[in-house]
């Protein structure tokens, strides 16, 4: 449908032959199949917005309330759809406001194409009104960026931008277009980019490495597979499942790998890392083989690197050569697309079972359940827990919802207890840990998956960082279900202050506004739950509500997230209690 539309548009424009740079931007985006843009207009991007005005039936533009909202929304759209998210901002402050979101996308390998307006080229470097060197500012946090000062460059550069953003290890790209380049005319012709001489998105998988890896897998007694977001980005969920089912290898996930394997899969042994599950952390230091698939050994996963899986051989399946041996030395590094390498491995490994080894994970589960999970999910104390709210939301959405979270305690609890059936259902800020991500991200997730229930779980701290996006949600009638877990604290920082700073609660307590009244002011209905008896009905009402809805749940003020691998400790020194 989109293709047909864009063909028709093209032929219309082909007869006109010469078009303005601003129109070329929009036509180029249509050629790339862009259906939605998140943005915020301003002086230097006005010609592009003017060109967009003629295409409102072909491209949906979402006017956010802040550029940070636009970039986080585009980020979540990309995570849910697998296509590049697109956002627009004007020069100067507009472009600068994108930076946090671009850094977030860079850390989490999210494809974005950000287009910023820039002052006219004769004014570059003159400290002109709303001039900022956004190419310079964004350089450390983009996969690639480029400044266009000549309208003739527009189609080719945009084609390269999409190719770079979406291929190999994806990432954000920024194109800065001076106002004069938007206004001057060019002969428009669009050709998709298929290669760039200096850029190899992925190397072919080496069959000898696969053979070596398979030999290790076939002889391992205690193998453990760790899967990360690479499996989701590479659409390798089925291959992952086939490999572990054939070999009987237990599999644990990183924060961003979550949802690649159904939560109830018998070989899914849980979450890795600082607030991950007891079994996979403890047994990382007992496994004789670690197979890392599409993950990068983040410090939140490894804990103390010098005490990480020293006894194990390491197989690293990775698309980015710079990740090999960056943190953990690989005994066998298999470069290339994880979908291809997993598929090749399946053909080379023997059918196997590791029942005794898997029993070790079950035993750990039992301990964790008794000490932590039971109390989190079915508390007996009067104060409400984040865990019970998450459990009910997950059950009430039949484990089919898209979970969007902000950053902090609620994020860890939500990742631990929300259950998933399908991939690309978990949207969270992993590498950068960007508070304020949740609410704008929920908009992008909802627009990327309009037929699915999107639940945004957010804490009272992060909610107030981007709360203005309630306006965008209301204006666009996005039926996002916002679960606000309010403990009147910056909970994760407070937890660290309690555990490592002798309860010196330095600037972590919040005096919060009446969130329900604020939502009402934006035209979004809501309800506040203070007692357990009201929780389930409150959640049911939120899920059943047709439009956007805010459910605020008052949480016990000083609850902690456990288990925990303290900073600098080994994964096997994971704590089950303070």
């Amino acid at each position: 449908m989109q293709a047909a539309k864009s063909l028709k548009l093209k032929s219309n424009y082909m007869t006109t032959k010469r078009i303005a740079g601003s129109q070329a931007v929009i036509l180029s985006l249509l050629e790339e199949g862009v259906e939605i843009i998140f943005g915020y207009p301003g002086g230097t991007i006005m010609p592009i917005y003017d060109a967009l005005y003629d295409f409102d039936r072909h491209i949906n533009h979402i006017l956010t309330r802040h550029e940070q909202g636009a970039v986080h929304a585009a980020d979540a759209y990309a995570r849910v759809t697998g296509k590049a998210g697109v956002c627009f901002a004007t020069s100067g402050p507009g472009a600068a406001n994108l930076i946090t979101g671009i850094a977030n996308a860079m850390m989490d390998s999210v494809p974005l194409v950000c287009i910023t307006g820039q002052v006219a080229s004769p004014l570059l470097g003159t400290d002109a009104f709303q001039e900022s060197d956004v190419v310079g500012i964004s350089m450390p946090v983009t996969k690639w960026n480029y400044q266009i000062t000549d309208s003739k460059e527009i189609p080719e550069v945009i084609a390269q931008a999409f190719y770079i953003a979406q291929s190999g290890r994806p990432g954000p790209v920024l194109i800065d277009i001076t106002k004069d380049a938007q206004i001057s005319e060019l002969d428009f012709e669009y050709k998709k980019c298929r290669k760039i001489r200096s850029y190899i998105p992925e190397t072919p998988v080496d069959p000898f490495k696969i053979k070596e890896a398979a030999d290790l897998i076939n002889t391992a007694k205690k193998p453990l597979l760790l899967f990360g977001q690479g499996v989701i980005i590479g659409n390798a969920e089925q291959e992952l499942k086939d490999l572990i089912e054939k070999t009987g290898i237990p599999a644990a996930w990183t924060l961003l790998g979550l949802s690649a394997l159904p939560s109830d899969h018998p070989l899914n042994v849980g979450m890795l890392g600082m607030h991950g599950n007891y079994g996979p952390n403890l047994l990382t230091n007992e496994a004789d083989l670690i197979i890392a698939a599409g993950m990068r050994f983040d410090d939140r996963v490894t804990g103390k690197v010098s005490a990480y899986a020293k006894q194990a051989k390491i197989i690293h399946l990775e698309i980015d050569p710079a990740e090999i041996n960056k943190i953990i030395k690989a005994d066998i590094a298999v470069l290339g697309n994880v979908k291809k390498s997993l598929k090749m491995l399946i053909g080379n490994v023997n059918e196997n079972k590791h029942d005794q080894w898997i029993q070790r994970f079950r035993d750990c589960d039992k301990i964790e359940h008794e000490k932590i999970i039971q109390k989190d999910l079915y508390p007996e104390k009067p104060g409400l827990t984040m865990g019970e709210a998450i459990r009910i939301v997950a059950d009430e959405t039949k484990h089919e919802a898209i979970l969007v979270t902000d950053v902090g305690q609620h994020q860890m609890i939500a990742q631990r207890y929300f259950k998933f059936k399908t991939s690309k259902s978990n949207v969270t800020s992993g590498g950068l840990g960007t508070m304020g991500f949740g609410l704008p991200a929920s908009m992008g997730a909802q627009l990327g998956a309009p037929n699915r229930t999107v639940v945004a779980v957010i804490g009272d701290g992060g909610f107030q960082m981007t709360i203005q996006e309630l306006g965008t949600i209301a204006q666009n009638k996005l039926p996002v279900k916002i679960l606000l877990l309010n403990n009147h604290f910056l909970g994760m920082v407070r937890q660290w202050q309690q555990l490592f700073f002798e309860k010196r609660y330095s600037f972590t307590e919040l005096q919060n506004p009446d969130f329900i009244t604020i939502a009402k002011g934006f035209g979004i209905p809501g309800h506040k739950v203070d007692v357990r008896d009201d929780l389930e009905t409150g959640i049911k009402r939120m899920i059943a509500h047709e439009g956007p809805y805010l459910l605020e749940v008052t949480i016990e003020k000083e609850d902690n997230v456990f288990p925990m691998v303290p900073t600098g400790a080994s994964v096997s020194d994971i704590l089950l209690e303070p």
């Binding site: 190419v135 690639w144 290669k195 200096s198």
Partner: protein, 180 residues
């Protein structure tokens, strides 16, 4: 163990690329001791030589991060022993030094330096070599009060008979074509 490494980078000639490359070093708080950029033997391909002191583990990671940059075609690293390198130094000495005795002439001959320009006020001497050699010449000439002194960054060749990049570029073109 920290030692000097020479990182050779071949890249497209794009504005801003130098900035992108230096960010890789500054982000890791690695000091760039010498930096030379110029067009390579292959038209349109630029060659950077960056000298840093670090460990082999670190230099490998840095080269990996540089190769990851979209406009970088290829990066290599070498120890000082693996390359032939030179720096160029220029010295401006007062003309009296040349007239009053043959010391300057002897110093220039001994150091295999050469005289570039003689005016009524000064003489300009050029010397190529390693930093120890150009520095030693400076110390010697400074008895006549060197008026100006400048030293270039390092240029280097590998001990390979051919520029590895030309072979590599051919292979890469074939590889990229095979992807279509």
């Amino acid at each position: 163990m920290k030692r000097q490494y020479n990182i050779t980078i071949f890249s497209e000639n794009h504005i801003g690329l130098l900035n992108r490359i230096t960010i890789v070093f500054t982000r890791r708080k690695i000091n760039i001791e010498s930096l030379v950029v110029s067009e390579s033997a292959i038209e349109g391909v630029y060659k950077f030589l960056v000298v840093i002191s670090t460990t082999e583990d670190q230099v490998k990671k840095v080269v990996g991060q540089i190769e990851k940059l979209i406009d970088v075609i290829r990066a290599f690293y070498h120890t000082n022993e693996e390359i032939i390198f030179q720096e160029l130094a220029l010295y401006k000495v007062p003309i009296e030094a040349l007239y009053e005795s043959d010391t300057v002439e002897r110093i220039v001959r001994k150091a295999s330096a050469r005289i570039l320009e003689i005016t009524r006020e000064y003489v300009v001497i050029e010397k190529t070599g390693h930093i120890e050699e150009t520095q030693a010449l400076f110390e010697e000439l400074n008895q006549f009060k060197v008026m100006q002194f400048t030293r270039s960054g390092r240029v280097a060749l590998t001990r390979d008979p051919i520029e590895r990049l030309s072979v590599f570029l051919k292979e890469r073109d074939a590889f990229l074509d095979s992807l279509d």
